[in-house]
Amino acid sequence: MTLIAFMGAMEIGLIFALVALGVLISFRILNFPDLTADGSFPLGGAVAATLIAGGHDPWLACAVAAAAGACAGWLTAWLHVRLGILQLLASILVMIALYSINLRIMGAPNVPLIGSPTVFAPLIDADGANAWLMQPALLATVVVVAKLALDAFFASQAGLSMRATGANARMARAQGISTDRMTLLGMALSNALIAVAGALYVQTQGGADVSMGIGTIVVGLAAVIIGETLLPAGSLWLITLGTVLGALLYRLLIALALNADFLGLQAQDLNLVTALLVGLALVLPRLKRSLRSGKRTAS
């Protein structure tokens, strides 16, 4: 694999590290199986691309994308805590509604960003020669900031309340925590992160496409699960670290698989490779365990 191809994999890996951190909040911390991501990722992309194409500041576009994502997550949580709709179903409803909303926002199935100023533009030479380095560098900074901010939040009183809400809601209420409010807040935070990832994604890909969200949740979950197999369960900063590393490793494995000529895989096989990788990551811990116990009985 060439250096450029490696950095390309890292670039997308870093963007999906943000998605994975969002998925970590919903699936792991709040214990809320949430598929909104497939809608909130392209929502962030649609909002950011439309604003940037309209001549607005790209950082402002990211902030508005975050707010839009927060609204989407909040809505999913609201459907569950206020209307009592099953978590998974609530998120699917919001996800499919967002497909139409994203089309409305963009006004077309895609919005190109070729030549528009992005958050990366000030760092990149006129000929674009250093884009392969500067784009991942800026994304890495964003991911590190997001990870450290999350670590700090989850060590705070409010953050601990959110963790208790997902771990034992009845106990949390008995301690005076409004678990409904915490769920709304956490889901908003989760999908805000995912929407920011979408906003950054369209700026690296030169435009937004209405179908760009397909499979977002699977990739995010894959990263979380790989992260859990990578690092032992421990304090929260270790879990967020594992999640970020999981996202990077995942993209690297995908790039390797697609680059290995003897496998004969092509870009359209991406989803198949994803499913295989996630399946592998899911059975790996069990495989490790049975291997270990197998050895013990043999000796």
Partner: protein, 264 residues
């Protein structure tokens, strides 16, 4: 002072499973009173405690804590006044969080939670002091996950958590039922100490008549969602387990089999 006034609660109303559980339950607890509650399975003891904590809302009747009507408040809104320890050692703590994080959650019971650090160094010192009183060696394991502790250790920590913040009432629902006899008596002794030292108002449900008479200063018996027996002071001091059973039979005018009430 806790006052329950004519509480009614029917589960699954209007279905074939309709189950009237509380049927006009009234009870007043004076400040500092430690009341033990007995009654057969399904008598409504847990439902009564859940009504006090706000986990369920009664169909009718009123609940007052220190004169304030709390009938319509949620569990989390009442948490500042109500502390509780559940029967299931898993229910009262978060097993995925550390001991100090669980204690920190309890230290902030009923208070606003902001972006300040959840566990400050001064909290840690407090936790260490309190845990040391349990004599279980837990003061050196603040960073251990709660899930690593045994059921008895978890109940002991739950009791400690319930006493970190002042409360108007402490609810104990068969909190020693899942423990072996030795651990159960350790947790009961701890309960007595914590209630006495903090001057708590407490309501303890138990299936052991022995426990009901040996602990606290007043005993009430629930039957079919109502208080059928309420003894304290001299009268209670003279009672023994067979007397209690006899009294119950006379009040209800019906025979009880030993299965319904486990003799302690």
């Amino acid at each position: 002072m806790i006052r329950a006034d004519n509480l009614f609660k029917t589960f699954n109303r209007g279905t074939p499973l309709e189950n009237p559980v509380l049927r006009g339950l009234s009870l007043t607890l004076e400040n500092g009173q430690f009341v033990t509650v007995i009654g057969s399975n399904g008598a409504g003891k847990s439902t009564f405690l859940n009504a006090i904590s706000g986990d369920i809302t009664p169909d009718s009747g009123r609940l007052f804590i220190d004169g304030a009507d709390v009938t319509r408040l949620n569990a989390w809104q009442r948490a500042g006044s109500v502390a509780r320890v559940f029967q299931d050692p898993l229910a009262g703590t978060c097993e995925g969080l550390t001991i100090e994080e669980n204690l920190a959650l309890a230290l902030q019971r009923g208070q606003r939670r902001g972006l300040g650090r959840a566990v400050r160094p001064s909290d840690r010192a407090l936790f260490r002091d309190r845990l040391a009183t349990l004599k279980l060696g837990l003061e050196n394991r603040l960073g251990d996950r709660m899930g690593l502790l045994s059921g008895g250790q978890r109940q002991a920590v739950s009791l400690l958590m319930a006493s970190l913040q002042p409360s108007k009432v402490l609810l104990l629902d068969e909190h020693t039922a899942a423990l072996d006899p030795k651990t159960a008596s350790f947790v009961m002794a701890l309960t007595d100490t914590i209630v006495r030292e903090n001057g708590l108002t407490a309501l303890m449900v138990t299936h052991s008549m022995r426990q009901a008479l040996d602990h606290g200063d007043r005993t009430v018996m629930l039957h079919q969602g109502r208080v059928v027996l309420d003894v304290a002071g001299e009268e209670r001091a003279r009672l023994d387990v067979p007397d209690l059973l006899h009294l119950f039979e006379r009040t209800r005018g019906e025979q009880l089999d030993d299965d319904a009430l486990l003799l302690g």
